[in-house]
Amino acid sequence: DAGVTQSPTHLIKTRGQHVTLRCSPISGHKSVSWYQQVLGQGPQFIFQYYEKEERGRGNFPDRFSARQFPNYSSELNVNALLLGDSALYLCASSFYGTVNSNQPQHFGDGTRLSIL
């Protein structure tokens, strides 16, 4: 069974540009969460989507947006890129998305975004 897949694996952008990152969840999983991991830190929650609805948002500016499609795949969009947006962006999927003892989140390998 395929795990969580993310594309692209690496991306280089310049300040002011925008970027779209993509995620396909594990088959059967209806929830997708996005995390940002900067060097030396743990993953920081950005968004969660469940059944195409935004369920929650972390402490990130409005330049960050996301959506989920009918097939449960998801896109993360970041506008007006800043140097500080350089990070590993991780997508995680689970069946329900809620913190639940029977449904841990499973992560993709991430997209490494570098801003020049």
């Binding site: 929830s31 830190q41 743990g42 972390g58 991780l90 913190v99 841990p104």
Partner: protein
């Protein structure tokens, strides 16, 4: 305002010995706890979890201990193997909510 702390950035252990990784949290509403392992260039891999109704959960070489009164959990790996060398993250959240909070990670190096 760090709600989840892993105070040891790194740990070195001899192969065959026990590795103990620690995690502290501040919010008493957190009742589900997980450990993830991360190799370079890969995403975090789920390792083991525990809910607050238990104080111990075992899975093979991995055991997680939870001390609710101290708001502390630990991951024990016995015996440690070179393949266990990775960054370990603890994560936690409140059941029924949607948000997990991660610690900063501990880099474990198991020496052959």
């Amino acid at each position: 305002d760090q709600q989840v702390k892993q105070n040891s950035p790194s740990l070195s252990v001899q192969e065959g010995r026990i590795s103990i990784l620690n995690c502290d949290y501040t919010n008493s509403m957190f009742d589900y706890f997980l450990w993830y392992k991360k190799y370079p260039a890969e995403g975090p891999t789920f390792l083991i979890s525990i809910s607050s109704i238990k104080d111990k959960n075992e899975d093979g070489r991995f055991t997680v201990f939870l001390n609710k009164s101290a708001k502390h959990l630990s991951l024990h790996i016995v015996p440690s193997q070179p393949g266990d060398s990775a960054v370990y993250f603890c994560a936690t959240g409140e059941s029924g909510t949607y948000k997990y909070i991660f610690g900063t990670g501990t880099r474990l190096k198991v020496l052959a």
